[in-house]
Amino acid sequence: MEAKIRKHRHTLFIAGYAAILLGIWDTVKTILNLTIRQPLFKQVEQQAAAYTHEAMILSAVFAGVFIFILTVILMSIRLTIGRAAIRLGMGKEIKCGVMVFWAVVLLLANASGSVLSIFGIIRGGDVLDLTSSFLIDLTTFFMMAWILTALYKLKKLLVQTGG
């Protein structure tokens, strides 16, 4: 039983780092999407074109702040999950309610994303783009499922052993 506990802790340790790395990629992808592919600045600029110069600047700043906050939120969620998983993997006892909540949120979000990507491909969307989105979303889905499964099994074993 000790061996099984170690195995699940090891899984959490590895998955924690993987979650953080995927989070970094996800964040970079979001920034690239908002600044290059579907530039938020340009959309805001077009809408603010009817207004004064100061309004345009304000709009651009708002767009920048929005991107920054979104990035921080996205990364924070991944870091929360990753760091908690790593600490559990190292044998530390921590409260994992927040980690479980966000892992479930990401699990469902990425499951939906994967399904939407498939629909997009079926409807004739950009195959390359949607396929890569699908793969990343699927990976994140399995990552979160892996973390949650390992956590559940670990907790069960710890209860059995009185740990």
Binding site: E2, A3, R6
Partner: protein, 388 residues
């Protein structure tokens, strides 16, 4: 193990087994020379390269990962430093290749160890020295295999040193880093190991490289998860195991000297070592990177003679100066013959068990000579002995 045990402790064990000072010096010098006899050294003096008993770091770095190179690495390291414990071990699962690697895991009291000691019987003191090196390393290098394999030899963050505290131990996590210039910090449990490479056959995963120098420190006790153990923890108590190695060396050398009729596995001559047990255990448990000074002091106390520092020069100079026909009679010449015999025996046993990780082996007496010319010497000696 390192020079403190292979040279000085082997001297002490040989003296306690009844050898004279001069004989002890020949034995312990050969035991230590097993860690020095590389292809680089042999090629520099025109000696047969197949007699190499070790590989320098630079040689290992240059080694390729093709099958022939891997077999060459395994032949050297499995024959002299990581003698396999059970070539027919029951492996719980995995592919054929995994099972073959698992069966090369080193451990003490094996059939191969008995064969190693028997091989040195009625041979030169150099053969005895090689046998003692191999014997000692079966204790220190236990749980690791002499073949590059991540799935056997890798370690991870779950590695704890057990620090004695009263009657029990406290655990202190070991931090590994790859910084050979910095050295090991014994007080903070920070040790140097080989770089992690995500490749099954990487030489970084040869032997105990991933555990750094820890298995070779006599004082250390640690708990870790071997890659092959399925998350089961293994505790290594070096002070106890090194003491067993010392007593087993006395027993083996008494047999080689002719005092005992047979060599049996699992027998350790604790009786002969008993009067010196306190001193020996004190040396083994003293927290220091090199116990040479203490072992030297004990050896000189035992014999009343000075033990000179180890030097490879006497080995190589005599060999180089001697005529070709007389080279086999020099110290290095005898060492080479013994090394070839040991390597040939171990490789043959591994091959006969159905394991190709050490390459092919030819039974010269049955099938005639084939393969590496260096080993022809063994055939000639065998024929000469038969004629006698």
């Amino acid at each position: 193990m390192q020079i403190d045990f292979h040279y000085y402790a082997t001297y002490c064990a040989a003296y306690l087994a009844g050898f004279s000072h001069e004989e002890c010096m020949e034995i312990c010098s050969s035991a230590q020379f097993t860690d020095c006899c590389s292809v680089t050294l042999l090629s520099g003096i025109g000696a047969p390269l197949s007699a190499a008993t070790t590989q320098l770091q630079l040689e290992i770095m240059d080694a390729k990962a093709d099958i022939l190179s891997l077999q060459n690495i395994t032949r050297i390291w499995a024959s002299f430093h990581f003698l396999p414990r059970d070539l027919s071990a029951d492996v719980p699962g995995g592919s054929g290749l995994y099972k073959n690697k698992y069966r090369l895991i080193c451990g003490p009291d094996s059939d191969l160890l008995a064969a190693t000691v028997e091989l040195a019987k009625d041979k030169s003191l150099q053969a005895a020295g090689i046998a003692m090196h191999v014997l000692a390393d079966t204790w220190a290098h236990r749980y690791f295999a002499g073949t590059p394999s991540m799935v056997i030899n890798n370690t991870d963050y779950d590695f704890f040193e057990l620090i004695p505290e009263g009657d029990s131990y406290t655990e202190r996590r070991v931090t590994f880093r790859h910084n050979p210039s910095a050295g090991d910090d014994l007080e903070k449990s920070i040790y140097t190991n080989t770089v992690y490479q995500f490749s099954e056959n990487s030489v970084m995963c040869l032997g105990h490289g991933r555990a750094g120098h820890l298995p070779d420190y006599s004082f250390i006790r640690y708990r870790y998860l071997p890659a092959w153990a399925g998350y089961e923890a293994v505790v290594k108590d070096n002070p106890s195991e090194y003491y067993n190695a010392f007593c087993q060396m006395i027993y083996a050398m008494r047999y080689l000297r002719g005092d005992l009729p047979a060599f049996e596995k699992g027998v350790y001559d604790t009786e002969t070592a008993a009067p010196w047990e306190k001193e020996i255990r004190w040396i083994l448990t003293k927290r220091q990177p090199d116990a040479s000074a203490d072992w030297k002091a004990l050896g000189e106390l035992l014999s009343g003679q000075e033990i000179p520092a180890f030097d490879t020069a006497p080995f190589t100079q005599d060999y180089r100066k001697a005529d070709k026909a007389d080279r086999d009679e020099t110290v290095l010449g005898k060492f080479i013959i013994a090394a070839l015999a040991q390597k040939s025996m171990v490789t043959n046993r591994i091959w006969k068990s159905g394991n190709l990780l050490a390459g092919y082996s030819v039974d010269y007496m049955q099938e005639g000579f084939r393969g590496l010319r260096d080993f022809q010497k063994l055939v000639e000696i065998s024929l000469m002995n038969r004629q006698k």
